[in-house]
Homo-oligomer: 352 residues x 2
């Protein structure tokens, strides 16, 4: 059995779970490498993946004997089969943060489970700390993101639309990686005041401000980086805001390491912004892995302690409604006594 499935079985036994239903496809991929619709059952006797005709061939190609996962076609299973999976299991774990209320009721009924137990994101929590291979994938994704940013700085010319630039970035990621890890944001001029702007037909002006938030995937693992930069010249009124965001982004990089308290770090940024009459209107950061947003959350509202080999973002931003915004973001690897920004694109004033 692979290490991750072995970890899950050990964890289950420590929680007195005799069975477990894994429904979240990202968790299934994490544990088994399977990328298919279906459900993973960990029973007393075996590991079972139930899928349908569309995926059977692919799943068989993904798995090896070593994985010890039995694959069933949903169409071959009878009511008795379902009831037998968790027979004599006192407690069966499920993913209460992924499974809908309707599915929860269906599981109880279909598998005849008496006690379906909440597992409090235990797999997501395990995913927070990355192993070597995962870190390698994220590093590669970050490298490609840096290369893409260098390329796009040369590519952008006044008159191009936000959409066109976003498309060029996506193309770059499609050719050099597994595509973008989320919908690329290219927000220019007053659009940059929207943290989640959708690329529009707005054309880049001779003098302009642009925020680009982008990332790609390598073997399923994501990168995430934001830079705000300038076309023609950098307006004087933007400088204090840019400096404030950058100072805090770098201070956070100084402070993040194993055992740092993320709430304290986020509060520090929020306090400094407030001192200058701004606000940290979104989280300071989030975990990055197979999901572009995953645990832990770094914000004033949630207490998390960083661990070595976590990968998180550091992305303070200030948004002046209807005028402009500045956000600077790196993907960051947490180490014992320090941290390392895996995205390494320049952060000083960039004027193209």
């Amino acid at each position: 059995m692979n290490q991750k499935m072995q970890w899950l079985r050990n964890k289950m036994s420590s929680l007195n779970l005799q069975g477990m239903i894994v429904s979240n496809p990202v968790n299934i991929r994490y544990l088994t490498n399977i990328q298919a619709e279906g459900i993973l059952l960990v029973t007393r006797k075996e590991n079972v993946f139930i899928t349908d005709g569309r995926y059977i061939e692919d799943v068989h190609n993904t798995l090896t004997l070593f994985d010890e996962i039995v694959v069933y076609d949903v169409r071959g299973l009878t009511r008795d089969d379902y009831e037998n999976f968790f027979m004599f299991c006192e407690n069966v774990g499920f993913e209460e943060n992924y499974v809908t209320y309707a599915k929860y009721k269906e599981y109880m009924h279909k598998y005849k489970i008496n006690n379906l137990v909440e597992t409090e994101n235990m797999i997501e929590k395990q995913r927070e700390v990355k192993d070597e291979e995962e870190i390698e994938n994220i590093k590669k994704a970050c490298q490609i993101t840096d290369q893409c940013f260098a390329y796009i700085l040369k590519y952008i010319k006044p008159g191009m639309t936000e959409k066109q630039i976003a498309r060029e970035i996506d193309d770059y990621f499609y050719k050099n990686a597994e595509g973008a890890s989320f919908e690329t944001i290219v927000a220019s001029g007053e659009n940059s005041s929207k943290p989640h702007a959708i690329p529009s037909d707005r054309q880049i002006k001779e003098v302009d401000i642009i925020t680009i938030d982008m990332g790609c995937k390598v073997n399923g693992y994501c990168s995430d980086m934001t830079r705000t930069f300038f076309v023609g010249e950098m307006p004087e009124y933007v400088k204090p805001v840019y400096n404030l965001v950058l100072k805090n982004q770098e201070q956070v990089l100084n402070d993040m390491r194993e055992n740092s308290n993320t709430k304290q770090i986020a509060k520090m940024v929020d306090n400094d912004f407030r001192l200058h009459n701004y606000d940290l209107i979104h989280a300071l950061g989030h975990g990055v892995g197979l999901d572009i947003h995953e645990a832990p959350t770094l914000s004033c509202y949630s207490e998390n302690i960083l661990k070595a080999n976590m990968v998180v973002t550091d992305e303070p931003g200030i948004y002046v409604t209807g005028q402009f915004g500045v956000r600077i973001e790196d993907t960051v690897l947490i180490n014992k006594g320090s941290c390392e920004a895996l995205t390494k694109s320049p952060k000083g004033y960039i004027i193209i």
Copy 2:
């Protein structure tokens, strides 16, 4: 108040619901046009959308006074505010097929609701039957899909990879629509035997078979079309399979109209496939709208009666493991006495 919100309030009152929590973002978009993270509350007194700082500006730009929706920033709400929303509501509806078990428990607690009532996909069911504007959007998306197919037939040359072709399709949709409505499938040679193949680096050969499954979005509304076609020549051994799939795909178009029973139609296809020692291994079709896959499902396992102005797919396929596959799919508008394929690309033998 807009018609769709008015419909919801009428429906709620017929179900004796004094309040409703709408969590599914696609349902929120359907009802309000809002495209933002957040939650829609329909209370005794008002319609409320709760979102966060990232979206406030955008949401205000989307809504008009006519919508009668009050927007709150999640950060400005106190525990009392939450408890007041559904005060004196005996029954509050929720979306049990969207809301996780954990959220269900959170809602009960946060809003102090005594009776959170399952609403059995009532909004999804309402979405099945499209209004004029929705149909116009889907028609446009289907037209662009046809144009893209005509373009791509000329574009494909031996030596190109599946990825490259998929990328060209995505580019076309990005330029001429709101992008692809799902991950474009380009499956060639033996890859075509996988119904959900991911475009690979496999190069198109001088003589080859290609299945392309593609669609785009217009104002959020999707199209969905599949064609299987040939490079160089069409192998003799593929012809009987192609003919069998096409015959059934066209028979379904003949049979679908208001009041048709989708289970019977799917069984007819499955029976005909079985007569020839094949199998219908996936559903015959699905609804298309703001979601690429939505209600109703057309399959041997679910009983649905078609209604006028539903938009569904008709997509039989046969897959010979490790060898090849054939799927032919149209997006179809259901009318009173007939139906209309909205995707109109040719379905005879296509050899490029």
